[in-house]
């Protein structure tokens, strides 16, 4: 990708914030373990979803996701995932992927509550995340010193998610 993808907004006093596309992550899963949560009220649960692999792609980082080296330990409202990435130069990069998920009815476009999934009702899941990274000294250490915002979309058949990360400039 040659053209940087940027998004900018300006406040009432002229403060601007700019997001610039950095890289993406695909995560493939083969099982989702769900624990009913006792303390959060109806429709809450804790989940364990571990990646069996995936890719890191985009302008600023390329590599892969190490299989079964971390998981999303999320709960119904949000998620809190830990993964290990390996850049193409071999560097190991830890990512903590924390964020919020929304569920939408595919037919009506209406937001849905975080109820147990109903296979008869097609829903769309969108995520917004704010990840943090730990990268070793070297070409990737810039990720340690910046804030990122991410877009996430969950797909089925095969079960995978794709996150698009933007550096908050």
């Amino acid at each position: 990708m040659n053209t940087p993808v940027e998004v900018t907004a300006t406040s009432d006093t002229g403060e601007t914030l700019t997001l610039r596309y950095a890289f993406s992550l695909s995560l493939f899963f083969n099982e989702r373990i769900r624990i009913a949560s006792a303390y959060g009220g109806e429709h809450t649960h804790r989940s364990y979803v571990a990646p069996i692999g995936g890719e890191v792609f985009g302008p600023r980082l390329q590599g892969k996701v190490l299989p079964l080296a971390g998981a999303d330990y999320g709960c119904s409202r949000g998620f809190d995932a830990h993964y290990m990435l390996q850049a193409d130069d071999g560097a190991l990069i830890y990512i903590r992927n924390r964020g919020l998920m929304r569920r939408w009815d595919l037919d009506t476009g209406e937001p849905l509550p975080p109820t147990a999934p109903n296979p008869d009702r097609p829903i769309r899941r969108t995520m917004r995340v704010a990840p943090f990274f730990d990268a070793p000294k070297g070409p990737h250490e810039w990720v340690n010193r910046a804030v990122f915002i991410g877009h996430g979309h969950r797909h089925v058949d095969p079960d995978h998610s794709i996150f698009t990360y933007y550096e908050v400039l």
Binding site: L17, S26, G58, G99, V147, I149, H155
Partner: protein, 152 residues
């Protein structure tokens, strides 16, 4: 070790996000206190009060309800965690937390903000909305202006 067959990633489109100015908080803070710890410099700035204004939220910062907690790392970046309570113009209390990075070398202060609002109140949308923000520290060390943008 178990080997898994992982498909090629077929979807390589860039997921699009939007940014929308939401509100700003002009916070009054006490001078920063620095404690040298084994993990780095622990920084603390109490938030004394402030005003919240903008198209999506108006109110005040609940007096002395929190502060900005930083950890100064050996690479020059400061890991920020900020916690305080906001009171909306309608009297509802919101819990506000930031997780971010500050770099004093170039004045970078950016964060992701999360909110806890009443589940059936007018600000419930904050509960499942990701908010990105920036901070600008006053030269005299007694104020920080936080500007918040909804990530759509």
């Amino acid at each position: 070790m178990t080997e898994f067959k992982v498909p090629e990633t077929t979807t390589k489109t860039v997921g699009q996000v939007t940014l929308q100015f939401a509100f700003r908080i002009d916070a009054e803070v006490e001078p920063e206190q620095v404690t040298a710890t084994s993990r780095g410099d622990r920084l603390f700035q109490r938030i004394v009060g402030g005003t919240i204004s903008g198209p999506l939220l108006n109110g005040t910062v609940h007096p002395r309800s929190g502060g900005e907690f930083g950890l100064g790392r050996s690479d020059g970046a400061i890991e920020l965690n900020t916690h305080f309570m906001a009171r909306t113009e309608h009297g509802e209390m919101l819990y506000v937390t930031h997780a971010g990075i500050r770099r004093d070398a170039d004045g970078y202060l950016r964060f992701a903000a999360y909110f806890d609002a009443e589940g059936d109140g007018p600000h419930a949308w904050l509960n499942d909305t990701l908010v990105a923000g920036s901070g600008k520290r006053a030269p005299d060390g007694r104020g920080i202006t936080f500007t918040y943008f909804v990530v759509g």
